[in-house]
Symmetry: C2
Subunit: 119 residues, 2 copies
DNA sequence: TAAATATTTCAAGAATTGTTGAAATAAGAG
DNA sequence: CTCTTATTTCAACAATTCTTGAAATATTTA
């Protein structure tokens, strides 16, 4: 995952409504939920929901498809996995332990960085 | 970490300048960097930097202190660790594997959720 | 095809976020 | 105490984000 993709995913999650939509879709599994179900369960108006679903889509966090006369959306699992990897491995590269990453590999990477760090 | 704290941390990271400041501070370690150094290294104007450092502070991602006539800022490590935990354990609760979390414990949790999920 | 349901589009307006340069504040150096 | 360096504050403005209700579109049902 590149920085720009990560920024779009982070922006998508950094909003109250969208975070709750996201968490709802986590529990919904691969079949997802229809827009109407999401709107009802989160008390977001239809027009506003369309706006937020687009942002989640732009962030690569959901995928949507038509099913009859409803639009269903489900989590794009790999993106979330990629974001956590970005935060722990790429974003905090060489110091993955700082972000909850693996301590052993982080320690090795840190040793290589020792000369670069300014303190 | 509560949802509102996570939202502030996510919002703080969801901006190009702030993400690059964050990544700079990852490499800087506990002594941090002065505002001037950050401004020079990232090409952000002083006034704009003040604005963004406040957002990072609001997100709990950095802490700042005066050292002589400079202000130094360093990473607030625990918040980043907490955010990754939030994303993997709390946000994706019961499906931590979706976010790159531990597969074993995720599978156990999923079994308990099976009856609740709607597909 | 007409009616009903589900969702999107659109434009207007409100709210929030980000940038800028000039002036203000804080601290060390002469 | 004055000068210089480092940073913040502020107000104005631009840009982006979010909400709203009304109208438009797509699909199924009668």
């Amino acid at each position: 995952m590149k920085t720009q993709e990560a920024l779009r995913a982070l922006s998508a999650l950094a909003q109250e409504h969208r975070l709750s939509i996201f968490r709802l879709l986590v529990t919904a599994g691969p079949n997802g939920l229809s827009a109407g179900e999401i709107a009802r369960l989160t008390s977001i108006s239809p027009a506003s929901l369309t706006f937020h679903m687009k942002e989640l889509d732009r962030g690569g966090l959901v995928r949507s498809w038509r099913a009859g006369r409803t639009i269903r959306s489900a989590l794009e699992v790999e993106t979330m996995r990629g974001l956590v990897t970005f935060l722990t491995e790429d974003c905090c590269a060489g110091r993955a332990d700082l972000c909850g990453g693996d301590l052993m590999s982080a320690r090795q990477a840190c040793c290589q960085l020792d000369g670069v760090l300014n303190d």
